[in-house]
């Protein structure tokens, strides 16, 4: 009976440690080892993600992933050519060279006008007037954050758009 109680206490302690690690996101915490076997959704590789979002005055947003295949072409072009990304071994995340992305705003704007705007014109019936933006999100390494909650997210360039 005493052993049963002891086991129960240890088990509750185990669950609490697991819970705190999941929500505490403390990489340096002594119980982080439990967190290594986490069931959450975390990414710890440094990488950016791109969204080309059309926003009009009523905050209507169009996700560029709606373009499907076309977007992957754009995504790759923006990542590799304009921002100097190189593919890493996993092939599903990208190494980042932040320095290379600096000072290329004009180039990216031209790229958006030339490649993205025609797609919007052609495929988005609701897009009439607003701003076409390139959003960059950055997930910091070992941050233990959810992939839907980036550490930093900003608008890299934004150009006026009108059909």
């Amino acid at each position: 009976m005493k052993r049963d109680r002891l086991a129960t206490v240890f088990f509750i302690f185990f669950l609490i440690a697991y819970l705190f690690q999941q929500f505490g996101r403390r990489e340096d915490w002594p119980f982080s080892f439990f967190g290594m076997y986490k069931g959450g959704r975390f990414d710890t590789k440094p990488f950016y993600r791109f969204k080309v979002i059309y926003t009009d005055d009523s905050d209507f947003k169009l996700n560029a992933y709606s373009f499907k295949v076309d977007f992957f072409f754009l995504d790759e072009r923006i990542r590799v050519i304009l921002l100097g990304f190189k593919e890493n071994f996993n092939n599903d995340t990208l190494e980042v060279n932040e320095e290379l992305s600096k000072g290329k705003e004009e180039e990216v704007k031209k790229f958006l006008f030339k490649n993205v705007k025609p797609l919007l014109d052609q495929q988005c019936e609701d897009c009439k007037k607003g701003r076409l933006s390139l959003h960059i999100s950055y997930w910091d390494e070992m941050s233990y954050r959810n992939y839907l909650t980036p550490d930093r997210s900003w608008v890299y360039v934004s150009v006026p758009y009108e059909k």
Binding site: Y37, N90, L148
Partner: protein, 272 residues
């Protein structure tokens, strides 16, 4: 009472023996330059560099040998502790290179519960711990999606679609989901979030519901493979879900009976 003991033996066989062999089978699948960057976390910070291959080999042997035998009911508490500690060190080692995986966390948690907790006298209590742990992880995963993932957006917007679209490779089923209407990806995400995760506690209400959830969770992992590809390591969790099945068999006893029947048959033949 005896029935519970047999159930526990079955669960231990499924997790410690079959689960260990399965994780071992899927182990060591790392890209060539995986071990180049040492970014230690947790107690690995005590080490200035990765453990040597020789040392890892020893831990690997300790993990597989002792846990597989412990799962068969051989070796007792001593085997369990050596096996579990070796598993902790070995399986945690590759988390120190910048990537965090979550394919074996439920397996590892179950091993910790079975091997490192003070052994309760009641076998049913230990099985209950496993059930509570699985439900706890499932519900927590769902809550995390709500907490960090913008509430129910995961199920009712294009969040899952975006995640799938940004995945570098989609198997045929994943491609079909992308090409189909948005409601299809919402059903996938909603099923996983609401039924498999947030409502996981329902499995504790009745043993038959537990059995139903065994299939729900298993099909959930199979579905992830069909839609996203790979994710085979997650199947290690299915061995832990076996705690919900209420199966009763003793593997060693089965072998013994089988051998006895074969031998007695031979003897009879020889005598005749």
């Amino acid at each position: 009472m005896k029935s519970n003991s047999l159930k526990l033996k079955t669960v231990e066989f499924c997790i410690l023996t079959l689960g260990t062999l399965y994780v071992w089978y899927n182990f060591n699948v790392f890209p060539p330059d995986f071990f180049e960057v040492w970014k230690p976390i947790s107690f690995y910070k005590l080490f200035s560099r990765p453990l040597s291959n020789d040392l890892l080999g020893i831990f690997k042997f300790g993990w597989i040998f002792f846990l597989v035998l412990a799962g068969l009911g051989i070796g007792g508490y001593f085997f369990r502790i050596i096996g579990a500690v070796s598993a902790i060190i070995l399986l945690g080692h590759h988390y120190n290179f910048g990537n965090v995986y979550h394919g074996t966390h439920v397996y590892m948690g179950a091993v910790m519960i079975l091997c490192l907790l003070p052994r309760p006298k009641s076998s049913a209590l230990l099985i209950s711990y496993l059930k509570y742990f699985v439900v706890f992880v499932m519900v927590l995963t769902g809550l995390q999606k709500l907490w960090y993932g913008g509430g129910f957006d995961w199920a009712f917007t294009d969040a899952f679609f975006v995640r799938l679209a940004s995945h570098p490779y989609q198997p045929p089923v994943g491609q079909a989901v992308l090409e189909g209407p948005l409601i299809l990806s919402q059903i996938f995400a909603g099923w996983a979030l609401i039924v498999a995760e947030l409502l996981a506690f329902v499995s504790l209400f009745h043993k038959n519901l537990g059995r139903v959830y065994f299939f729900i969770w298993s099909s959930f992992h199979l579905g992830v493979t069909f839609v996203f590809g790979n994710h085979f390591m997650f199947y290690s969790q299915i061995f832990v879900y076996s705690a919900f099945l209420g199966l009763e068999f003793n593997f060693l006893l089965l072998i013994k009976e089988k051998l006895e029947s074969i031998l007695s048959g031979r003897l009879k033949t020889i005598i005749n």
